[in-house]
């Protein structure tokens, strides 16, 4: 563990400072992506014909490597955190839109009819019925988006020390200290796992009606709950 937690002075940060920076650079874009994805997904649910083109466009965005986006953005936003966060926000948007659309669409017709019969207006019905029922699907999408975002921040190291924990990778090569690279990868992985666990906790708190006990539910129950749609969203 010789020098494992000794951060080179050129990074101007402590170990925990880097972790904080990394979390900020990874999570703010996901939040922005979520705020953007909710209205976009709602439009896609409302106007069905809109969904395939939106999916196509976002998939193409998703395929553009983050490094290329960084380089193009440098001209506008400089070598700042913002340059790293913009593509990450776009990537989370790509994961979240299908998750929300599939989640909201999986709400059974009878449930909607019942809430309408109870006198719910469209806004209240959306906020109090459709969104809560879509929570498992949305959270599945969020888990993928957060993990991807945390692991992608490191690439920012290539455009001049904007990669938070990823900067350790550059320094590992610069100073010939492989333990810094190990530290970077391990810390990033642990961060991702902890955030994932936190999201699972949030999901469990938000969906008190769901059966507990992990994935070992009988097949019949899985079909009735519309699981395929949910997981499809998670897989994208």
């Amino acid at each position: 563990m010789n020098g494992f937690f000794d951060i080179p002075s050129d990074l101007d940060n402590t170990y925990f400072g880097l972790i904080g920076l990394h979390l900020r650079e990874a999570l703010l874009p996901v939040l922005a992506g979520l705020l953007l994805a909710l209205p976009v997904a709602q439009l896609c649910v409302r106007f069905r014909w809109l969904y395939p083109p939106v999916l196509g466009v976002t998939t193409v965005f998703y395929a553009i490597p983050s490094l290329a986006v960084f380089v193009v953005l440098i001209d506008y936003t400089g070598q700042t955190e913002l340059t790293v966060m913009i593509p990450l926000a776009v990537y989370s948007l790509v994961v979240l839109v299908p998750a929300i659309v599939d989640g909201v669409r999986s709400v059974p017709e009878e449930t909607l009819a019942a809430s309408t019969a109870m006198g719910f207006g469209p806004v209240r019905r959306y906020l109090q019925v459709q969104l809560p029922i879509a929570v498992p699907a949305i959270l599945a999408g969020l888990r993928v988006a957060v993990s991807a975002s945390i692991s992608l921040v490191s690439v920012g190291a290539l455009i001049g020390n904007q990669g938070a924990l990823g900067n350790l990778l550059a320094d590992a090569q610069k100073y010939g200290r492989p333990e810094l690279a190990v530290n970077s990868v391990l810390t990033t992985a642990v961060l991702a796992i902890l955030c994932d666990a936190a999201l699972v906790l949030v999901r469990n708190l938000l969906t008190p009606w769901m059966p507990r006990g992990g994935t070992r539910r009988p097949k019949a129950a899985a079909v009735r709950q519309g699981r395929p749609e949910t997981e499809k969203a998670a897989a994208r």
């Binding site: 290329a68 692991s151 992608l152 090569q173 994932d196 992990g214 097949k219 997981e231």
Partner: protein
């Protein structure tokens, strides 16, 4: 700065079209890395997903492996392995395979597990072997979802294979990394465009595969 101008300049420069650093050569390298990584990931993820999905056991293990693999940063892994074993194909393949296994594994598992139990029970009642139930009943029904998992893995691999250039291998990433160091944005934007086009071709291929391979009876939407 105009992205369209860059794209135009990059693709109309005839120097970019032949030789060792030409677009056909780089495209070929990129496709080779992507196919190799996707093949390895499918060889790991598909059998494991089919087996756990069919038996319904090991769901927690699948979820754990997927979470752990997603948590590992591709770029960090690349640098780490490159520092440990030196540059070559291995530091590129390991992060790409780690990236592609979770979507394949999770979707295959979920797809097989969520097949309607009544045809499966009917097949079992007719005396079909467990293996024929898996391959002749569950697999055809689960195929659209399995393909969507493979598709999302393929697109991530195509996009991420650009990191190969970072450990001095070829592929489209060459344009992006070289362009970055040479402050030649034309190259960077051109490389990004090539990757996006390749992703579109991948999408189209999977769409065609779905049309060909999925039985009309189970097509949805």
């Amino acid at each position: 700065m105009n992205v369209i101008n860059f794209v135009n300049a990059f693709f109309s420069d005839s120097a970019h079209w032949h030789g060792y650093d030409g677009i056909p050569q780089r495209l070929l390298e990129h496709v080779q890395y992507s196919l190799l990584a996707l093949g390895l990931a499918a060889a790991i993820g598909l059998p494991a997903g089919l087996l756990t999905g069919h038996t319904g056991r090991g769901g927690n293990a699948v979820a754990f492996v997927a979470t752990a693999a997603r948590a590992l940063p591709s770029f960090g892994l690349l640098v780490l392995i490159a520092v440990a074993v030196g540059i070559g194909l291995l530091p590129v393949m390991i992060p790409l395979v780690v990236l592609a296994v979770p979507p394949i594994l999770v979707t295959t598992y979920e797809a097989v597990r969520s097949v309607d139990p009544s045809p499966v029970d009917a097949a079992r009642g007719m005396g079909m072997h467990e293996s024929s139930i898996l391959f002749r009943v569950e697999l055809p029904v689960a195929l659209p979802l399995i393909l969507s998992g493979l598709r999302s893995a393929a697109i991530q691999v195509v996009s991420t294979a650009t990191i190969a250039a970072y450990v001095s291998l070829g592929g489209i990433g060459r344009y992006i990394i070289d362009g970055l160091y040479q402050r030649d944005y034309e190259k960077v934007v051109g490389g990004a465009t090539l990757v996006a086009l390749l992703a579109l071709v991948t999408l189209a291929l999977f769409w065609a595969a779905g049309r060909l391979a999925v039985s009309p009876g189970v097509r949805r939407r």
